[in-house]
């Protein structure tokens, strides 16, 4: 009995370390994650795209934590029964296209459901349409 205890205690401690450290770097495929979280937009400049992202986030009830034009990065939080935090980045893909990427976490969980990101981009599509047509 003592032997079992002697072995199981360090095993438990080691497994706890492994699971805590594995959360620092995620194990999902980087390509898959990027594809799920990214959408490409044509013919809208960085500033208008970022403003559309802000409108989208406010439409969805977020408060902006940080916004940086140079880095084209916006982080926002929504408080409900849970805490939903999203970071959106805008990058030049080529001379005519911008890539918008969103990654979100709810409490201590990464959102890895593609449908959730599709929902986000559906709202962003509308905001970009309204920005293009200069509608408040």
């Amino acid at each position: 009995m003592k032997h079992y205890l002697l072995i199981s205690v360090p095993m438990l401690a080691l497994s706890a370390c492994a699971s805590q450290n594995s959360a620092i770097t995620a194990s999902d495929s980087q390509v898959h994650v990027r594809q799920m979280q990214t959408r490409v937009y044509d013919s809208l400049d960085k500033r208008d795209t970022l403003r559309s992202v802000l409108a989208t986030l406010q439409d969805l009830g977020f408060v902006i934590d940080t916004a940086d034009y140079e880095m084209a990065t916006i982080t926002a939080t929504r408080l409900q029964e849970y805490q939903l935090r999203v970071t959106v980045t805008v990058r030049d893909r080529n001379s005519n296209q911008l890539a918008v990427r969103a990654n979100a976490r709810v409490d201590d969980q990464t959102i890895d459901d593609p449908r959730t990101y599709q929902d986000f981009f559906t709202v962003l599509d509308k905001a970009i349409f309204l920005t293009r047509h200069n509608v408040d």
Binding site: R47, L50, R51, L54, A55, Q58, D59, L60, G61, F62, V63, I64, D65, T66, A67, D68, Y69, I74, A76, T77, R78, L79, Q80, E81, Q83, L84, A104, V106, I111, D113, R115, T116, Y117, D119, F120, T122, V123, N134, D136
Partner: protein, 186 residues
């Protein structure tokens, strides 16, 4: 004797599997009330400079005791926060009464009334103001406000977005005054 154990094991496995298969809630689906929310949270200031609106907003936030956490002028973003008292006298009275009653009922045995700890104590208020100019020289401003309330024990008792139209109405009334003062250089 083994059957209950086996049944429990099967139940545990099936519950784990079912939780793996569950889908996440609609985090990014706009609610039906989002149009109403936008109306409540936004105002248009006609024929003003965006920089004047931003300066007026920053001054107003200072007037109201907020600390500015984030400013990005090129995107028209200001985020601010403050900690404020959240004690509700009615709630405090109710919980103290409950504690007293519990103490009276358990007279001399053990006065274990602990409702007092559940009284709302302080709240952290966070807000974002985003200005959006258009080609006609007008500036739309939208404000979103959230708060987290902590009880006397320091536990989160509520975290939510403010949906009270009067709060936004009052804030925009003050912002209108602040924009006027900004334009007048006061």
């Amino acid at each position: 004797m083994r059957k209950p154990g086996l049944l429990l094991a099967l139940l545990a496995v099936s519950s784990v599997l079912s939780s793996c298969g569950s889908t996440q809630p609609d985090y990014f689906s706009p609610s039906q009330s989002s149009v109403v929310a936008r109306k409540m949270q936004a105002r248009v200031y006609f024929s003003v400079e965006e920089s004047d609106v931003m300066s007026a907003a920053a001054a107003l936030l200072q007037d109201m005791g907020y600390s500015i956490d984030e400013v990005e002028a090129r995107l028209g973003v200001i985020s601010a926060s403050k900690r404020a008292n959240a004690t509700n006298r009615l709630q405090a009275f109710g919980t103290l009464t409950l504690d007293s009653m519990k103490c009276a009922l358990t007279f001399l045995m053990a006065c274990s009334g602990n409702y007092y700890g559940e009284i709302d104590d302080v709240q952290d208020i966070r807000l974002t103001l985003v200005s959006m100019p258009n080609d006609s020289g007008d500036v739309a401003v939208r404000i979103t406000i959230q708060r987290t309330i902590y009880d006397k024990r320091g536990r989160v008792s509520e975290q939510s977005t403010i949906t009270d139209a009067d709060v936004y109405e009052s804030m925009f009334a003050k912002l209108s005054k602040a924009v006027f003062l900004e334009e007048q250089g006061i």
